[in-house]
């Protein structure tokens, strides 16, 4: 990954570069993959994005618009077809990013404790530190008493909390979250959103958070991005200026919240319909 891209900008002292350069810089990003009938499908076409250090950035868009692909590219799990991704890695002792994957992403063969400790173990973090961090984050997601259970013994919501704890325990510079709460019921989603807000407000990590829920994006984010139907481009890029700490129910009563959600929905609705048309063409 081109981690040092930003630091090598002409003539800037490292400290100044750190202050000025974004944590994540994406330029002219294109991503294509082979289609079913021999052609290529463009998932992303000419995407530009800069995320400053410590920003909570939410991405909304219709299904299949390439949101997940963008996250996988940011995580380095895929390589861009064209264009550039630069992620600034400030502390080499910590991982640059950790991803909370969509859907169930616990290892069934590891206990809850071992799942949360997985990243730490791969990086050979000393055992004492590992134990302490795992305990901290298991407490945070309320699964301490299930430390020795296997994921197969847990509910879907509990498994999602294990994935979240694993990503947080890694203490990454950037958290990449791919619809982490989509499979949860309303109450558990709300509790975990609040928990995430609380953690983020103390640690102020850079977060890229993909969701299909506008409400969720406005509740959590400093900034909301709307992606178009395939091939994905940015249609809207706005700061979400509601004061923190935020409370979902007071926030939803404010007119500004409703206005913003409505405006984004109007745009999104068009894209959802377009995405459907594209899919229909694919079928036909």
């Amino acid at each position: 990954m081109g981690c040092d891209w930003a630091n090598e900008m002409i003539g800037m002292a490292p400290a100044a570069a750190q202050a000025a350069s974004p944590k994540i810089a994406v330029q002219h990003l294109e991503f294509a993959y082979p289609g079913a009938r021999g052609g290529t499908i463009m998932a992303l076409a000419g995407l530009n994005l800069a995320v400053p250090d410590g920003q909570f950035c939410c991405i909304v868009g219709p299904s299949g618009c390439g949101k997940s692909t963008l996250l996988r590219l940011l995580a380095g799990l895929e390589q861009p077809t064209r264009g550039n991704i630069a992620v600034r890695h400030d502390n080499p002792a910590l991982p640059v990013n950790s991803m909370v994957f969509q859907g169930d992403s616990t290892f069934p063969w590891l206990t809850v404790r071992e799942n949360v400790a997985y990243g730490l173990a791969q990086r050979h973090v000393p055992a004492a530190l590992r134990v302490a961090r795992v305990a901290t984050f298991l407490d945070m997601v309320g699964l301490r008493s299930f430390s020795d259970a296997y994921p197969g013994q847990l509910s879907g919501g509990m498994r999602q909390r294990v994935s979240l704890a694993r990503a947080l325990a890694n203490d990454p510079e950037i958290l990449l979250m791919d619809e982490p709460f989509a499979s949860l019921d309303e109450q558990n989603r709300l509790l975990l959103q609040l928990e995430l807000l609380r953690i983020w407000e103390t640690e102020r990590k850079t977060v890229v958070f993909v969701t299909h829920s506008i409400d969720e994006a406005l509740l959590l984010g400093d900034r909301v991005l709307l992606m178009s139907a395939r091939p994905g481009r940015l249609l809207l890029d706005e700061l979400v200026a509601f004061p923190r700490p935020r409370d979902p129910y007071t926030l939803k009563r404010e007119a500004a919240f409703g206005d913003m959600a409505y405006r984004i929905w109007e745009l999104l609705r068009r894209e959802v319909n377009r995405a459907r048309d594209i899919e229909m063409q694919g079928v036909a």
Partner: protein, 563 residues
């Protein structure tokens, strides 16, 4: 539940039918050894050390061959699953060799490695290798790619990904391959030992066949089946141990046991079972067995080993009957939580009905195995006695037209807990039928019938309410009380008769010491309708049976030494 009983009964029925057909000479004994003969031969083979020797050498070949085949297969299978060039390279070769029956490769292996151990172990290894290889590769290929992504994102190196993702995720498939491979290993080793071996279970089968020692051939087959079964269980245990997340999949809450907790709960569990089998009722079967043994000794036949087996076998069957009774009474609704009779382990939730039925099956299986051995020693008579006893036991409560539910309980108990047991024990010792022995069994037969009758007298109202037709509930309380007195009286009448006829030594007269108890019991039963008091009558009738039986046995033993 019903299916479980059926799956236990079907092999038993097959064995019984087989034994019966051989004993009736419908099946030719030259080609079909009777199960009891096979068991007798097995015991003889075990006693001579031959069985141990054959089994250990065969198992040694299986295990070495298995390890030699499975370990490289797992490593190579992992590579095949992870790397498509390796897959492209090896898959066609594996696909070509896999279908060849490995036993067909044996001649080639013998040419290369001679007739020794190496060629046998290699043949096993080869047959295990391909099964494990293909299953391992398939298991790795089936892994959801997201797990590799997660591992990479968490900073796992290539090697770490193999160890922490590919291997554990493929383990269930690897285990399946190992289980299939183990089955093949057994098949192949027996076949291999047919040729050019001088020990081993296959060798034993083949050589005994060549000299028409058909019993040994069958014994070899039985041993092979048992080994196969044990290996399957072994691998299942290993699977539980190395794939714990699979076994844990069903349970929602995790509970942590300390070893001391487990120990005390084990103790408690043993205590519950001890209660469930109702050991105090065992006197009903122990007394007639000991009486039969004492009578045989008195007449000059006694083999302590066979006697001990008879005793253990009959206690096992009695325990099984008690458990089965609890189970079926529970299913039929005869024993409510406030019922005074049975052990109440089901009603009080200490054991599940399923566990009780399982215990019954286990006890019956032990009894059946001992019975089969006794048949091999004592012959057809014991077999037929056993068959009728099993049928009686089954029809006593289990069948739809249960004997105990149509007023035939007392007569059944009288016959089977009296003459049948005493004569059976005697026959095992003496290998001859003796009518005097039948006569001397009648007094305790009357008493055991009296125990059941006292039970039914106590439960007369309850049984009527649920439509359980016992002799007592059919006769009515008045006649039932008279019948109870007749049963007690019959006991002493026949004791006097056998002493007078000189069948039993004069010393057995000491059993008359219990007569006052019997008289007071008959009076007491006639004078009350209180179930509490009748429960006392029941308890004391059982005590009477024990005391009377012990005194009669003592009489025989004294008679044995003081002639």
């Amino acid at each position: 539940m019903r299916n479980r009983l059926l799956s236990f009964l079907s092999p038993v029925a097959l064995l019984v039918a087989w034994e019966a057909l051989v004993r009736l000479k419908i099946l030719d004994i030259r080609f079909f050894a009777a199960p009891s003969q096979v068991l007798g031969r097995l015991v003889a083979m075990a006693a001579s050390g031959m069985l141990m020797d054959d089994v250990s050498i065969s198992l040694q070949r299986i295990f070495l061959g298995f390890l030699l085949g499975a370990l490289p297969a797992i490593a190579l299978g992992m590579l095949m699953g992870l790397s498509s060039p390796v897959r492209a390279l090896l898959a066609p070769i594996a696909a070509a060799i896999y279908p060849i029956p490995k036993i067909a490769i044996l001649p080639m292996i013998i040419i290369l490695f001679g007739l020794g151990e190496t060629s046998k172990i290699l043949t096993v290894a080869l047959s295990v290798f391909f099964l494990v290889l293909l299953n391992t590769a398939a298991g790795v290929l089936a892994i959801d790619p997201k797990y590799f992504d997660i591992a990479r994102n968490n900073g796992a190196s290539r090697w770490q990904i193999y160890w922490t993702v590919a291997f554990p995720a493929a383990l269930p498939s690897i285990m399946t391959g190992c289980q299939l491979g183990m089955g093949f290993a057994l098949t192949v080793i027996v076949g291999t030992e047919f040729l050019g071996a001088d020990r081993g279970i296959g060798y034993r089968i083949w050589t005994s066949y060549q000299v028409y020692d058909i019993e040994t051939t069958y014994a070899g087959l039985v041993v092979t089946a048992v080994i196969g079964w044990l290996l399957t269980i072994l691998l299942q245990e290993i699977e539980h141990w190395i794939i714990p997340w699979r076994a844990a999949g069903q349970v929602r809450t995790s509970s942590v046991h300390t070893s001391s907790q487990e120990q005390s709960s084990m103790k408690r569990y043993a205590g519950i079972w001890l209660k469930a089998v109702r050991p105090f009722s065992f006197t009903a079967s122990v007394i007639p067995v000991v009486l039969g043994g004492a009578a045989a000794a008195y007449y000059g036949f006694f083999n302590p080993w066979l006697f001990l087996l008879t005793l253990v076998g009959s206690v096992a069957i009695h325990a099984g009957t008690n458990l089965a009774n609890d189970y079926y009474d529970h299913m039929k609704g005869a024993d409510g939580p406030d019922s005074l009779g049975p052990s109440k382990v089901i009603q009080q939730g200490e054991l599940s009905p399923r566990a009780v039925l399982g215990g019954a099956i286990l006890a019956f299986a032990l009894g059946a195995a001992i019975g089969l051995y006794l048949v091999s020693v004592a012959g057809s008579f014991i077999f037929w006695l056993g068959v009728f006893s099993i049928l009686a036991g089954f029809f006593y409560t289990a069948s739809p037209a249960a004997l105990a539910y149509i007023g035939l309980g007392e007569i059944t108990v009288f016959i089977f807990m009296g003459p049948v047991i005493v004569l059976g024990t005697y026959y095992v010792q003496a290998q001859q039928v003796s009518w005097p022995v039948v006569l001397l069994s009648l007094p305790i037969g009357f008493l055991v019938a009296a125990i059941l009758h006292a039970n039914n007298l106590r439960d007369i109202e309850g049984d009527r309410a649920i439509g359980k037709r016992t002799l007592a509930s059919i006769l009515g309380r008045h006649s039932a009380v008279i019948e109870y007195a007749i049963l007690l009286g019959g006991c002493y009448l026949f004791l006097a008769l056998i002493i007078a006829l000189g069948i039993a030594p004069l010393w057995t007269i000491i059993a008359f010491l219990t007569l006052p108890t019997a008289i007071s019991l008959a009076r007491r039963a006639a004078s009350t309708v209180d179930t509490k008091i009748l429960n006392g009558v029941l308890r004391r009738t059982a005590q009477l049976h024990t005391n009377f039986g012990l005194l009669m046995i003592a009489g025989f033993v004294i008679g044995l030494f003081v002639k």
